[in-house]
């Protein structure tokens, strides 16, 4: 069966594609759906008195009500979608790229290079991602502290413009993003490695080599395109997984700029109330549903791609 037709014959795949498309459309159309407040750009938009801590019910103006301190739920949801989509796709594609390059090179050259790179991969595999986040945070802080003397005593203020450019750049790096990229490329490398090692002795590679193809041409023209299917499937699932993990890290306060995670941080004190769990439903339900559907959507898409692209299962 053709991959496309195979993909569209299962209703789960259709749901997956639909969910992912909805998130993509919302992400692209975010400025139209909910215009930014020019004073506070970003997913947080205040629509009332910031000293008012009680969440307000959904109404005409903030369509999904407000969080405590009058942050619009709708606005945070829409712009959170955009940041989540960007984060997920950026992290998943960069990790997939790094992992498959390392795996392909080590598998192609074999021997000592392969041994070394695979040992390094194993070493990274034994590194829990939470330790990676802590470590990257430490490095960034340490470099920042060595660039500029951060005043420890009270009463000293410094303007953002006074700081050196390099420091501003350093502080704008998201440690969670770096840590996710650094500590999740290993599965890609392993898959690519095993596939390349199997494929590189086949006849068509030999034929291409006999025609005078160089190392780079063999790797990029023949080996990678022929082993890319599992990588694509894994990357699609990773988009969802990475966003969920980012929200988790934001929620437990270890960094990460997930707007959905932040909504739940602000909303969690209002979940439990005397009137039952649904009294303030709008403070946690939209973000929760968005996260769950995002995870399910990309997962279903990945499963569907696996069935469609993998000739053995069809």
């Amino acid at each position: 069966m053709k991959p496309l037709r195979c993909y569209f014959t299962h209703w789960q795949n259709l749901i997956g594609l639909f969910l992912v498309l909805v998130f993509l459309v919302v992400a692209i159309a975010a400025p139209v759906l909910s215009p930014q407040d020019p004073e506070y750009p970003g997913p947080i938009k205040y629509v009332g008195l910031r000293t008012d801590y009680r969440p307000h019910t959904p109404a005409e103006v903030p369509p999904l009500g407000t969080l405590s301190t009058q942050i619009s739920v709708y606005h945070a949801l829409v712009w959170g979608t955009r940041s989540a989509v960007v984060f997920g796709i950026v992290v998943a594609s960069i990790t997939a790229l790094i992992g498959s390059l390392i795996g392909a090179f080590s598998g192609y050259f074999g021997g000592f290079i392969n041994q070394l790179l695979m040992r390094v991969t194993d070493a990274f595999l034994s590194f829990p991602i939470i330790a990676g986040v802590v470590l990257i945070q430490l490095i960034i802080k340490a470099i920042a502290a060595s660039v500029v003397e951060i005043p420890s005593g009270g009463g000293e203020f410094f303007e953002l413009q006074d700081l050196p450019k390099s420091l501003i750049f350093l502080l704008s790096i998201d440690p969670v993003l770096i840590a996710f990229i650094m500590f999740s490329w290993m599965p890609y490398a392993r898959i690519m490695n095993s596939v390349v090692r199997r494929v590189r002795t086949t006849d068509y590679i030999e034929a291409s080599r006999a025609l005078g193809a160089g190392h780079l041409r063999l790797i990029f023209r023949h080996l990678i395109p022929n082993s890319i299917t599992p990588i694509i499937v894994m990357a699609a699932k990773d988009v969802g997984g990475m966003v969920l993990l980012q929200a988790t890290f934001t929620f437990i306060g270890l960094g990460g700029n997930s707007a959905w995670g932040m909504m739940l941080v602000l909303g969690r004190d209002w979940i439990i109330s005397p009137g039952g769990i649904m009294t303030f439903w709008w403070v946690f339900l939209p973000a929760t549903l968005a996260l769950i559907l995002f995870g399910i959507g990309w997962n279903l898409l990945g499963d569907g791609l696996n069935d469609a692209l993998n000739p053995r299962t069809t």
Binding site: P128, S146, G253, L254
Partner: protein, 355 residues
């Protein structure tokens, strides 16, 4: 037996090699920071609270001199590694303790959580995987697959919020944090002897079943949160393995001889399916450890993750952050080795493969 021993020794060697690579990479990243920052790894415990700039500078210079922090990378790394092996992991200003002591103190808390969730998810994952595989495309199979799907896509913190609002607030069956305040007074008093550090076992050893009951009440929600994700992975892999095994010739032969289906499933095929399924849990040890730390923070458990959180929350605390990273790698490698050893005993095929 000799084969098992040899395989285990090989495994030990590979652990040491991996540890060397990890620590070398870690120290290489630390080398990005200037020598003055690296010197904070060796700040003494009894640092006077008020020091002039010159005094502090002199102290830092002394440390750089004494610990060879201006030497090239390999030399520094060797000195640092030597200190690690000796158990000198540095003094953490935020914890007010030696990092190594702090880690050892917190270990039982994390270990208890990990132990009970492992005891929960491995048998349950295997059983539900076997049932789903044996009854492929029946109701039980669909149920297991759907639950597994939800379990993997539901973020742990949302599950934690749901569980807490239901079982803690509404029903008050279970509670977050590690112990109730009254019990916490008891276990910190002199009357309570801490033998293992695991409260559930220490309670029984001290003839105080109420401590054990209380500890279990507090463990229930975190253990469930942690177990369900890994249950889902294990159940899925076991199901796939069972379906593969049930198509083998020996199963057809057994059926032809009239051996009951239940006997075939639980006696014959499960034995072959168990080893590959365990390999999958071997791969997820790192995510298990990350999960443990996340769950600890979610349920206010103050285990090892406490060190990471505190080192992040305040200003630069290099010994704590670095110590936490090394600690988690060591734990992951140890757990992997244990699982590997179990597999060698359970699966004769794994033994042959090593030769």
């Amino acid at each position: 037996m000799r084969i098992v021993l040899r395989a285990f020794l090989l495994r030990l060697v590979s652990i040491v090699v991996t540890l060397l690579i990890v620590t070398a990479l870690l120290y290489a990243t630390v080398m990005f920071t200037p020598a003055e920052t690296r010197a904070t790894l060796y700040l003494p415990k009894n640092l006077p609270s008020r020091m002039t700039e010159q005094q502090y500078q002199k102290l830092i210079d002394n440390i750089i001199e004494r610990y060879h922090l201006n030497e090239p990378y390999p030399v520094q790394y060797a000195y640092w590694l030597g200190n690690l092996v000796k158990g000198e992991w540095g003094y953490s200003p935020t914890l007010q303790k030696d990092v190594f002591t702090a880690l050892m103190e917190k270990t039982p808390v994390t270990a208890e959580l990990t132990l009970y969730s492992t005891l929960l998810f491995i048998p349950l994952g295997l059983i539900s995987g076997v049932i789903a595989g044996a009854k492929k495309n029946k109701l039980a199979d669909h149920g297991v697959r759907l639950t597994a799907y939800i379990a993997t896509t539901l973020p742990s913190f949302i599950l934690a919020l749901l569980l807490m609002s239901f079982f803690y607030v509404d029903l008050y069956w279970f509670a977050p944090s590690r112990v109730s305040s009254s019990i916490s007074l008891l276990i910190n008093s002199d009357n309570f002897r801490q033998v293992t550090g695991l409260l559930t076992i220490d309670g029984l050893l001290n003839r105080r079943p109420d401590v054990t009951v209380d500890a279990f009440r507090h463990l229930a929600m975190p253990v469930f949160t942690l177990a369900i994700v890994h249950w889902a992975t294990l159940a899925r892999v076991t199901r796939a393995e069972m379906i593969d095994e049930l198509n083998q010739d020996y199963v057809v032969a057994a059926r032809a001889r009239g051996i009951p289906e239940r006997w075939i499933t639980w006696r014959h095929t499960l034995r072959n399916a168990i080893a590959p399924s365990m390999t999958s849990s071997l791969l997820s040890v790192t995510s298990l450890i990350t999960g443990v730390f996340v769950v600890e923070i979610l349920y206010d458990f103050h285990g090892v993750s406490d060190i990471a959180v505190r080192s992040m929350a305040y200003t630069l605390d290099a010994p704590a952050a670095l110590g936490f990273a090394i600690y988690s790698v060591v734990v992951v490698l140890l757990l992997m080795a244990i699982l590997d050893l179990v597999q060698l005993f359970v699966d004769p095929r794994a033994r042959e493969k090593r030769n």
